[in-house]
Amino acid sequence: MADLTTKFLGITSPNPFWLASAPPTNTGGQVMRAFEAGWGGAVWKTLGKPITNVSSRFGAIDYAGRKVAGFNNIELITDRPLDVNLKEMAEAKRRYPKHTLVASLMVETREEWKDIIRKVEDVGSDAIELNFGCPHGMCERGMGSAVGQEPKLLELITSWAKEFARVPVIVKLTPNITDVTRPAQAAKRGGADAVSLINTIKSIIAVDINDFVPLPKVAGKSTNGGYCGPAVKPIALHMVGSIAKDRLVGIPISGIGGISDWRDAVEFMLMGAGNVQVCTAVMHYGYRIIEDMVEGLSDYMDAKGFRTPMEITGKAVPNYKEWGELDQSYHHVAEIHPEACIGCNLCVVACDDGGHQCIAVKPEVRRAPIVHEPECVGCNLCELVCPSPGAITMRKTERTAHHH
């Protein structure tokens, strides 16, 4: 068993897995149960001025028999009184001193920031996270992603927080922006100790085609929400990687977005995250998923010879290049292995209609199709659609790419 102890911003957690600020960190009872289950840290559900939440709040995409491939919410920040939250935070930190407690905050004025930062530090928060990411409800009020989309404002508020806070300050970024490195650079300029990303992506999850109301419905109407869950992972990975690569940022990253298991977590860390945060997967399956995350990460580290999780961070970043830096002369072609082929001919139709028309059916039933190599551009579409493991692989060739 590898040692998963993770240092992030000087804070030590039993492992790199934190709960993201969301319903799983709504109450003290939950957070303590999560720590008991093995979560390394928890970012408390965002605190701020009193609001009310609506019902319903959530929507989800099911894909190919799997539930909740993508998840959408129109929930705002906490709807519980601040003093209740503070009391429970104090208790959680007192009873679980080794676990990391982070306060997520979203207020408006300088005075409000000053006031709330003092309060959460008083109850023992190890760090604070500024929620500049929420894409619905709060941004219309000039908070959340409205700040995250305005680098100047983000920098200003970050600098206020740094002025008042004794503990590290993490800035949570919104993905609802063209170039996420801009707000990350602003956070750095404002003095942030780290950034965390991604918050949810502005979305409408679905529309009821019978009554013409988008989902989720609140008394027959709906509004845009934020998208998260497994479906957003590739978007989040890119954003994490692009910040990790950006020399103007250069501060630690807490990776968030579609992480469901240890492998997802490792990918985020390889792309530059110092630790990770999880929400949807816990909402779907509960705190217990931490067991597999811890064991899986440990086995991975042992197998790869990593002594600490920190050694994983950023290992893939040097391999993430601009398109123009890629080797244009490299070429490979599809190779179909008849012994593993099941004869579904999906590669044939995919290559015909969506590729480069270079795979032909063999007339006999259940015979492996044939690749016409000179026509193959090596796009690997056929390999991706093939349902039989190992039936199609890509083989390096000396010939240069063939252009049409």
Partner: protein, 408 residues
């Protein structure tokens, strides 16, 4: 013109549960989304009616069940019956590429049933009679063949009149299908929809008795022969007239359509011998099991490998506790092919089929050999193999076909 006989509500087949239960919507969607959607799919080639299987499955997956049902029915108007009683294991599902991946093949039959049942439950209509062509066709026999033809004729605006010798519609699809696969009402449900297209049926009209082919040919523009394969072959052997010896098809028909009282004698039956190794025998033995017969033995003249019944049906029959005796002709000569071995018979003591009141015998039409009620218990004197034969306690008699007489 009369209407089809109603099914009796207390008929025995209602005791049976579905061997392959229906899918609910969530299960169907999940299963449909598992389909690879093969290009040039082998399942289509394996379907005798050429249903575009991946096409209808994709429609289930996209929640367009109406389109799924239409895809099926366009190829096969008996899509529901076929979904429930086709031997999919050897047809579409047997050809599914998932078999080659060592995965469970797509349950195509169940998906087909889901699509059609959902559409029919929602009273969806798919076809209308075509503009009257002025032509008319007589169809002989009210089985699925004639009904499918009549449906097609109506779509093209031709008149279609079916002549049926019995009082019930649907042929063997109504009276023959094992009830754990499909009950008679499913067949009639499909017939009902075809009747709505304006197909007429004359019941009690038998070709050769009160229907004259020459007259039909004169009266109609065309005549379609959909007479099926005919009744059970006669069990041409001594003892065949015993009240507890019955042809399987006749027995199954009674179970499926008649009042239970018509098979009242089945009540006390504890043991039954099914003679034959085809699919009707394999249905019959499982049906007897389902009706509560404790010991059911299928006796087949050749070995397991030669049995014409489907392997999957054989497996299920075994799982349900049916015993199989292979090579059990007890020395009776089989035309052209001498019976080889009957040692299997010996391994099954305790079979007491000859005890009065305890035996039901169902004879498959394909096997023609002779059974006489034996002595109450104990040894038969005249078997060619002496004491060995008595264990089965069925006394095998003589092959009554002229020269092929066996001694003893």
């Amino acid at each position: 013109m009369s209407t089809s006989k109603r099914l009796n509500s207390d008929r025995l087949e209602t005791q049976f549960k579905d061997f392959k239960p229906a899918l609910d919507r969530a299960e169907a969607t999940e299963e449909a989304q598992r389909c690879i959607n093969c290009f040039d799919a082998p399942c289509i080639k394996a379907c005798p009616t050429g249903i575009d299987i991946p096409k209808f499955i994709r429609r289930i997956g996209s929640n367009h069940v109406q389109g799924a049902a239409k895809t099926i029915l366009d190829s096969n108007i008996f899509g529901l019956s076929c979904a429930e009683c086709c031997p999919v294991e050897t047809l579409c599902e047997g050809a599914c590429v998932y078999n080659d991946l060592n995965h469970k093949p797509i349950t195509i039959g169940k998906l087909q049933r889901f699509a059609i049942e959902t559409a029919y439950d929602a009273s969806m209509e798919f076809y209308k009679p075509g503009k009257a062509s002025g032509k008319k066709v007589a169809l002989l026999g009210a089985g699925p063949a004639s009904f499918a033809a009549a449906h097609e004729l109506r779509i093209h605006g031709h008149e279609a009149v079916i002549f049926e010798k019995s009082e019930i519609a649907g042929g063997l699809n109504t009276t023959g299908i094992a009830p754990y696969k499909m009950r008679a009402e499913v067949s009639l449900r499909e017939v009902e929809r075809i009747l709505k297209m304006g197909v007429k049926v004359e019941y009690g009209k038998e070709l050769g008795r009160n229907v004259d082919l020459n007259k039909l040919v004169q009266e109609y523009d065309a005549v379609f022969l959909g007479l099926g394969l005919g009744a059970d072959s006669k069990f041409d052997a001594a003892g065949a007239d015993h009240p507890r010896v019955t042809g399987a098809v006749d027995f199954i028909a009674k179970m499926k359509t008649c009042q239970a009282s018509e098979l009242a004698w089945m009540k006390n039956v504890k043991t039954a011998l099914v003679i034959g190794g085809g699919n009707t025998a394999l249905d019959a033995c499982r049906e007897l099991k389902g009706l509560g017969v404790e010991q059911v033995v299928v006796s087949y003249r050749r070995g397991e490998a030669e049995m014409s019944g489907y392997k999957h049906e054989f497996k299920w029959a075994r799982q349900e506790g049916v015993d199989f005796w292979f090579h059990t002709l007890g020395g009776c000569r089989w035309p052209g092919n001498a019976y080889r071995d009957h040692t299997d018979v010996e391994r099954r003591p305790g079979f007491s089929g000859d005890r009065p009141g305890k035996a039901g015998v169902v004879a498959d039409k394909n096997d023609w050999f002779e059974i006489r009620k034996g002595p109450p218990a104990g040894r038969t004197q005249d078997g060619p193999h002496g004491a060995r034969e008595n264990i089965c306690r069925w006394r095998l008699g003589q092959w009554r076909n002229g020269s092929r007489q066996r001694s003893g």
